[in-house]
Amino acid sequence: MTIFLQSLLSGVLIGGAYALIGVGLTIIFGVMRIINFAHGDLVMLGMYASYFLFTLGNVDPFVSIVFVFPLLFLFGAILQKTVINKVLNALPQNQILLTIGIGLILSNTMMLLFTSDYRIISTSYSSGSFRLGEISVSTPLLLSFVITAAVTAILYWFLLKTDTGQAIRATAQDRDAAQLMGVNVKRMSVLATGIGAGLAAVAGSLISPTYYIFPQVGQPFTLKAFVIVVLGGMGSVMGATVGGVLIGATESLAGAYISSGLKDLVVYVLFLLILLFKPAGLFGKSRV
């Protein structure tokens, strides 16, 4: 029982960060119908931003998100305006190649600038924990989960209650109709990419105190985010949130009960099963 609770808890907590990465990817996809294969590299940029804020400016990685989000929001927005916007109506394979290319450029530029050395953020709480009965709760993981929940809540409020948020959702639902209703869809695309990039970077900042940082760190996260988004339903923010937590918990439980070497296998089997019975994903509406 202890093993079950312990694994479930750490899985759900780490799933929070996955969810944040997935939500960013799904918003970008929803508004522009482009899968951003550079998403993991945006996570990596967030990690590096936090690392340098921490080592040079002594800013706690959890506090650094206040700077990291606007920074990467700007970066994402510029990326959309200058590059991604050009391929909005291009063939899907061209869009894929473009985003993969952006990812490669990002990771290799970072390698050129900062070498491939592993970097580690050591905060006072990096390996801290407290006990809750039989199970131990990781302090940094719990903190990051709480922040994730807060960020997600703000995002939901933004998307549901504000005019801009509603315009983004309208664009995601039907780009042409939204444009006919007077929504500035070009601006929404820029906003969505900015938000997506910002969220990915925040997730990076939140993971950074317990993980390590190197230029290629992003690639596994791209794949993970992609699985989460497809699992939850392409373009569904709710789906990505649930999908992230689900993947985190599944990985952890599979690690505990089967073997940690096989946990990816379990995740992908689950993924295929869900797609088999619900091809549009958990919260996806099939589009015709």
Binding site: T2, I3, Q6, S7, S10, G11, I14, M111, T115, S116, D117, Y118, I120, S122, S126, S127, G128, S129, S136, S138, I207, T210, Y211, Y212, F214, Q216, P220, G248, E251, S252, L253, G255, A256, S259, S260, G261, K263, D264
Partner: protein, 383 residues
Amino acid sequence: MKRFLSLLAVCLFLAPSLALAQVKIGVINSMTGPQAPIGENLTNGIKFAEEDLAAKGIKVQLIWEDDTGKPQVGLSAMDKLATRDNVVGVVGAYTSAVTNAVAKKAEQYKMPLVNPVASKEEITRQGYKYVFRVSATTGDYAAILLDMATTLGKPKTIAILSENTDFGVSGAKSARDYADKKGIKVVFEEAYSPGSPDYRSTLVKVKGANPDIMFMVSYVADAITLMRQSRELQLTPMAFLGAGAGFSTDKFASEKNISNAVFSSTQWTPDVSWPGSKAFGDRYQKRFGKTPTYHAANAYISMMIMGEVAAKAGGDREKVAAGLRAGAWDGLFGPVKFVDFDGYQNQNKHQMLVEQVQDGKYFTVWPQALQSGKAIWPFPGWK
């Protein structure tokens, strides 16, 4: 026409002597990709060897190939070196997975290959005639650690945790075999996929098994994650034993609250009493601003040996292989000789060392004859 022919004759006559003046040696290493942080140590070690060979009057021309940590890239690098560049010998690669693939290819081309660091046992156990290994094997990694553990304490149970790569699985198997031999019961064994941010579910199971000693085979980053999460879960065995690169880097040592009293088996340390070790460490520190890992010393000595032998043999691969088989060397890596024993061919019998992190610094603690500090045993608990 006559003039052309005589010119040709002169060229043909000169060609071998030109080849003698400069020997072409290939290098395969992980210069980019996830293994690059360690690959850098090999690169730097080889650069030192290039300089020292030049000082001895041996001019080597190195052809550098990057395998990016992938066996298939390593294979095409070997193809290129053997056919297009026509080198007389190759030093490399870094990881066991790449080296194992490259070794097979080297044997096909009859290309002398000196393997500096890859330690998977099978690499020199397949009857290859052209593959020479300076590095110790994973069996040696496990043996020295468990020898030390059984001398210092009386561990009865062991948990073995390794990454699911060639190196990790081979290391875990060696540890299991040696533990059986020593009468230590294996109470937990698992191979994890490297790079995950969360090993807690695995470590909880380790905690449940309550082993006397914990044996881990990991590369750089996972070593830190594993120790951090062990601290989180308050795992307190008699000792944490690390076999592999991950536990013997400066980065790991500098994380004082998780690295203290962790043992790590290694092939070389700057403070070991072999001749030239300290000078090599200082030179490296001065030039690159970092402490070298054992990989740098392995790569250095491998290139020195290859360079010297290749220069003597001229451009002939067979002669290079014969020279490697016949020679014996001594230096900052201790004595080196390629011999056949226990099913190995052309394998160097290397004296392994154990180092321990004590307050952020590495000390060579085993074997006692070579030690620079006393071992802390048992694990004193988390700070």
